[in-house]
């Protein structure tokens, strides 16, 4: 990578650390609406795409706030009415409505705080099993399933880009592409080491085992983020390199592996149906990895300034899942915990993500200046 990274467009709140200025937002939305309706914009397809995406994002945020306001007004009127008539059932209804509104508002607040330059983007989730053979490969497979389920439950789509399967069960490693609004913003809080304690189904003497697997999350780099890679810094490998290739060989494998020589970062893709598709996807992954490495560097610099010991970087153990002898999933960063282990493994991660995100935002705010 030859140059520092920078966003190509910057609007005031892109960098505001999550402060959502209502009047500015409404003005900006009007402005974007006008631009989208300008027919000459569509002569420049990539700009048009960026503008219409920005418009859609902002419109969704504005609409979220307006709909909460509307529902709040309705719920309050309903509650007043119920109180006047001393109708206990209706009052309970109103309480439940207000409670769910509070949750919605909380989530909307967090979503509004996802204002990092890549938070709105799609992302890759890379899972690696730790030491310990089949047991940890199985654990990595369970994590992969957990994130797939979480993504699907939030209206996102998933695509398996690459996997190395374990010898008996599970996976040694896998990369999942998650597409959807704020995929990176939410999932970045999941980066780190995940620990599992259970009685292993692969142990004939039914002993308790502790296994580890790591998740690594990096954002898909879109047109708003400029990142330059010198092609001569990248080595391309295929699994067809040995032998004559061409008409001489008829094999299935069209995987492509790219290595960025200056950083040693390597990515592989075998998801596409053709070598061309694998190469394109591998380049996207490489851009994502290099960008994420840059984000880590920035974050590290910021943390050093704050003189605050970080426990949010990747490489740290972030969560423990105990299935036996008792049942408990506990986040070691935020101390959020639940005994509904099956629910969590089925993808119910929202409470963990929200707490971790709030904690990060807290850090950023305390630090005074956002990246």
């Amino acid at each position: 990578m030859s140059r520092p990274l920078r966003p190509t467009s910057s609007s005031p709140w892109d960098c505001s650390g999550g402060v959502f200025d209502w009047d500015v937002a409404l003005r900006k939305l009007d402005e974007l609406n006008a631009r989208v309706e300008d027919p000459t914009l569509w002569d420049r397809p990539s700009e048009a795409q960026a503008v219409s995406r920005e418009r859609a994002n902002l419109a969704a945020k504005v609409e979220a706030v307006q709909s909460i306001e509307r529902d709040l007004k309705d719920a309050l009127e309903y509650a007043e009415l119920a109180e006047m008539e001393s109708d206990e059932d209706s009052l309970n209804d109103a309480r439940a409505q207000l409670k769910s509104l509070k949750e919605r508002a909380g989530r909307a607040e967090l979503e509004a705080l996802l204002s990092g330059e890549a938070d709105g983007n799609d992302c890759y989730v890379e899972i690696n099993s730790g030491a310990g053979g089949t047991e940890s490969c199985d654990w990595a497979g369970i994590l992969l399933r957990m994130y797939t389920r979480w993504a699907n439950a939030h209206g996102m789509t998933t695509e398996l880009i690459e996997e190395t399967d374990g010898d008996q069960a599970g996976i040694k490693s896998a990369t999942l592409l998650v597409k959807g609004a704020n995929a990176y913003g939410w999932l970045k809080t999941e980066a780190g080491v995940h620990r599992l304690v259970r009685i292993s189904p692969y142990d004939s003497s039914a002993r308790r085992h502790t296994s580890f697997a790591s998740a690594w999350v990096y954002p898909v780099v879109d047109d708003n983020i400029e990142i330059e890679i010198n092609p001569s810094d990248v080595r391309t490998d295929t699994y067809r390199a040995s032998g004559a290739g061409g008409q001489h060989i008829n094999k299935t494998d069209s995987a492509v592996r790219l290595t960025h020589i200056p950083t040693g970062i390597a990515v592989a893709c075998q998801a596409g149906r053709s070598q061309h598709q694998n190469r394109e996807e591998a380049w996207k992954m490489l851009r994502a990895r290099l960008y994420e490495a840059e984000l880590q560097k920035r974050e590290a610099a910021q943390q050093a300034l704050e003189d605050q010991k970080t426990d949010i970087g990747w490489g740290h153990q972030i969560r423990s899942y105990v299935l036996q002898p008792y049942q408990m999933v506990k986040d070691l960063r935020t101390n959020v915990e639940t005994s509904d282990t099956q629910g969590v493994l089925d993808g119910d991660l929202d409470a963990f993500m929200a707490a971790s995100l709030a904690q990060r935002v807290g850090h950023t705010r305390d630090g005074g200046e956002a990246s």
Partner: protein, 289 residues
């Protein structure tokens, strides 16, 4: 007996491994995807889904054929190439990733909305012709093949990709009957394996693929000797040609095209850094009076 996706995948892998198949994991997964009608993500994230008796029977049939070294492309009947998916069978050469180099070079040379005419000699399943036409909406093309069975496959692919109005497919012997100075672009992946080398190749190629698409005569260069002057004849002045070559044929093929009058002759490597495509231009000054 019940069989889950994860068990089916593992068992399929082991069976192919025992049969001496290279990269059994990918082949097993692809055949399981088709036999059980699942996506790759589903195999990993819904591993305990059970296969029906019918799906198990289909998978077993696939595995038996693969163990006898039938290519996966023939078993599942399709192969991805560039950005398109092609139907394939034993009557056509299965598209190879290295051939994508030709498409890459052609797309660099012809801008997206340019109208141009292309000729694909030995069109097979339609591989190069259809991959290019799919990305160049103003282009039209002619594909020629000596095998009517191959042409039937190419026609099906053209129809599936909605390209049949821009792709003409004709039975013929290379350029016989084509007028001079007719095309802006000529591409070909002619047979280039020396006859006696074919019998040393893996059974997937040696037994299961059509000799007509592989056999390049005693030194592998027979087709180029015939094609070089003919390609230069049917190209318009200033037109481009791109032909696939074997890994060790760059010098010989470049020489044949230079001798036929081509200029700007050069070789491009594939992603595995083998020499793979010879390109060149018909001299624009040799325009007929």
């Amino acid at each position: 007996m019940t069989l889950t996706l994860v068990k089916a995948w593992t068992a399929a892998k082991d069976r192919l491994k025992d049969a001496g198949i290279d990269q059994p994991s990918i082949d097993a997964r692809l055949m399981l995807e088709v036999a059980a009608g699942v996506t790759r993500t589903e195999i990993v994230t819904d591993p305990y889904r059970e296969l029906s008796a019918e799906q198990i029977a289909t998978l077993n049939d696939y595995l038996e054929r693969r163990a006898r070294r039938e290519p996966v492309s023939h078993i599942i009947g399709r192969k991805g190439f560039w950005k398109i998916l092609l139907q394939v069978n034993k009557n056509v050469l299965t598209p190879r990733p290295e051939t994508e180099v030709i498409v890459d070079e052609v797309l660099k040379a012809f801008p997206e909305h340019m109208a141009f005419s292309m000729l694909d000699l030995g069109v097979g399943s339609g591989t190069i012709l259809l991959a290019v036409l799919a990305e160049r909406p103003a282009a039209k093309g002619l594909g020629i093949d000596a095998s009517s069975e191959a042409l039937a496959v190419a026609r099906e692919n053209a129809a599936n990709l909605d390209l049949n109005t821009r792709a003409a497919l004709l039975h013929g012997d290379w350029t016989t009957g084509l007028g001079s100075d007719s095309f802006d672009l000529v591409v070909s992946n002619p047979p280039y394996i020396p006859t006696e080398v074919i019998d040393t190749l893996e059974p997937e190629v040696r037994i299961h693929e059509p000799r007509l698409a592989l056999d390049g005569g005693p030194d592998g260069l027979a087709a180029y000797r015939e094609l070089a002057p003919e390609i230069l004849r049917v190209l318009k002045p200033g037109g481009l040609f791109a032909v696939e070559i074997g890994y060790d044929q760059s010098q010989a093929v470049e020489a044949l095209f230079r001798a036929a009058g081509a200029t700007e002759v050069r070789t491009v490597k594939d992603l595995s850094t083998h020499d793979r495509v010879v390109l060149g231009v018909k001299n624009p000054l040799e325009s007929p009076a």
